[in-house]
Symmetry: C2
Subunit: 403 residues, 2 copies
């Protein structure tokens, strides 16, 4: 044992000073800490700082108003709290409320600079933002679905397919449920689409989708299914750092989003998945859902391929932003809508938060559905255009599939 | 198009102020920038800072000496450079040398605080350290292997198996080469082991192993093979945040490392892989390699299971730290060594850097091999106990396998 300790010491010394502190001496500061009373303590060591703040979606939001193009828009800005300086330059803030079980992201602001928590290795990239992760699980709470439990786990694979339409190799994230590899059964397939700026990683990291699937299936609340997370930026091979194009910076201004190309090319993904995996390759066993831009894509995939999908889920969908002049995909909306419902889809599911800037657009869409007597299921939640809601919507949508 | 722009604007406004800056206005500061002359510019916006520095393995190291337990040890500390403040509080440093093509990690120090590059979304976790990534590829350079090219890509999967020995589910990273899924062929298997504190993610993130494999196979320089990245912390289910135990902080002081349990239980991983994948399930088609603790594990796996592995790669291996009193795995070293070589393994490959604190231990081991006339291949590199070397060793080892 002594030899190993010397080895460890030598290793720690041999590593960089940064690493050394965290590895050998243990982290000098513990943060975040979920306290027994449910409050959470955040700490950051910054001896020379004048002001240290924490901001994140665990804090109550504050209403903000901005003007854009002559229109006033209100939105929920994340709350901000000041930390107080203690011994050794360690700043600290403890919430004055128990933090509700959920998954959150947060950052510190040190004299105005946004930084992640230096003592929390759980970081998340969402589009171009790197944030620290706070996961507060609790038995019986909804967020328990987001935690990793000692249940059979599915396999999560990064899989490449060739897009004939785009002439490039493109990456998918594919979830195969526990038991897939040892079974000979065929499985239904759910396609899950991200929002603008996102990629094939988004639902797995920020969305906790594979944990939600593992847990719902283990509880018997969802059918075992294959889940495919596509990259909806059709001009892009894969997420940043997974591209052959090198340092492509995440951006919301990628070419060829929401102009029909993704929807036009989508059948080649379905064909690839049906060829590669043991799927039940028919409408009855195929579902699609997505958030924001992915909800927009979901709508137009459903309308343009009524023979493909039996279940559709629109989460905070970007409704009302399509431009019929850019693609046939967006033309003849009313006729396609009628044809879609004539095909008697098992489920059109809509979820939206009351403060979402797309709330009214979703209400308008549902009014149209109502006027035509087209059936759908609607879930309304608090809050706006946020991951918290999209995790809820996925958790609600998945149990309804393939029954 | 106008509608989409309004949607984007509303989305940007709806997002947090942090995200908004990076997403909508584009990053206010570009960093890092690889300049046409090969120098690299780093920038960090910190208007209130007094001193901003950058440190990382792209800088020449500086010799440092420390005393530990009465022994003086020298090591290569990463270099540090000061940035200069320019307009808008944007600090900047440009290297006065072309940065050699390679993959690097770096951090800034703002008035002593270690922070990642706020304008670089490419972050890496290595054990408990979060750092920013600088990848400098160049055609014809070795680092070209670390870049993603437009070649057929293998599938990278996170796969769980049940450890009967430990009574827990455990996670592996498994690489199946391009063509595996559409072929009926059987493939050889390489097991790749991480260092202390690492996990089944380490070789894929910091080690660029799947890029190295994709590129070597595409060039015809390596045989298509299945590669299994194990988690060598036998008491651990999986990497942090992938555990059912919740917020387990990465540490080098995990129980049950280097005390025989991992090596004892290893055959159950081989059995799982041979059962799950189309492998050539025999010694001739099985290899193992690892870095540091993983090199230690490689040595004892090779010695204790001479019938399992035909190729073994020890990268900066932690030689000389085993304790025979803790496990039979570490007993009868000389006899096992003789038996191992009597089995005529195809390759024992050793790599070490001249400034590695384990250099002498590796030299001593090779002296023993020489004295016994046991054959091996040795590669000596500059530098010490660093990922740069481990990527080189993997790139050199893989082409030698299964010929």
């Amino acid at each position: 044992m002594k030899k190993i300790l010397v080895f460890l010491a030598a290793l720690a010394i041999g590593l960089s000073a940064n690493a050394q502190q965290a590895l050998w001496g243990g982290p000098s500061v513990e943060s975040p800490v979920i306290n027994p009373d449910g409050t959470v303590t955040f700490r950051y060591q910054a001896p020379k700082a004048v002001k240290v703040e924490v901001t994140g979606d665990f804090l109550p939001t504050q209403k903000m108003e901005v003007e854009f193009g002559g229109n006033k828009m209100t939105y929920d800005a994340p709350g901000v709290r000041e930390l107080k300086e203690g011994p050794m330059g360690v700043w600290e803030y403890t919430t004055d409320f128990p933090v509700a079980p959920d998954m959150y992201t947060y950052t510190f602001r040190v004299d105005g600079l946004t930084v992640i928590d230096a003592n929390n290795v759980f970081v998340n990239r969402d589009i171009a933002s790197i944030t620290s992760v706070l996961l507060v699980p609790q038995e019986g709470a909804r967020s328990d679905l987001y935690a990793i439990h000692d249940v059979p786990h599915g396999t999560v694979s990064k899989v490449w397919y060739h897009s004939d339409k785009q002439g490039i190799n493109r990456r998918l994230t594919v979830y195969t449920p526990a038991g897939y590899e040892t079974s000979k059964a065929k499985y239904p397939v759910l396609y899950v689409l991200h929002g603008i700026g996102g990629d094939e990683d988004a639902w797995v990291t920020q969305g906790r989708a594979t944990q939600i699937l593992d847990n719902l299936i283990a509880r018997g609340e969802a059918k075992p299914m294959i889940v495919v997370f596509t990259n909806g930026n059709i001009s892009q091979e894969a997420a940043p750092l997974e591209n052959s194009t090198g340092y492509t910076r995440p951006t919301m201004q990628l070419p060829q989003t929401m102009e029909g190309s993704f929807e036009t090319a989508f059948p080649e993904i379905v064909k690839f998945i049906d060829g590669r995996y043991r799927t039940i390759a028919k409408k009855q066993s195929r579902a699609v859902c997505g958030l924001s831009m992915g909800g927009f894509h979901t709508l137009y995939l459903s309308l343009n391929y009524p023979q493909l999908f039996n279940y559709s889920g629109m989460f905070s969908a970007a409704i009302g932003v399509s431009d019929p002049s850019v693609s046939p995909i967006y033309q003849d909306f009313d006729a396609k809508l009628a044809k879609y419902f004539a095909g008697k889809p098992a489920l059109l599911w809509i979820g939206c938060g009351v403060t979402d800037f797309l709330y009214q657009a979703n209400k308008d869409f549902m009014k149209k559905l109502d006027e035509n007597g087209f059936p759908y299921t609607y879930m309304e939640t608090d809050g706006g255009h946020i991951w918290k809601n999209w995790r809820i919507y996925l958790s609600e949508f998945v149990p309804l599939l393939f029954k």
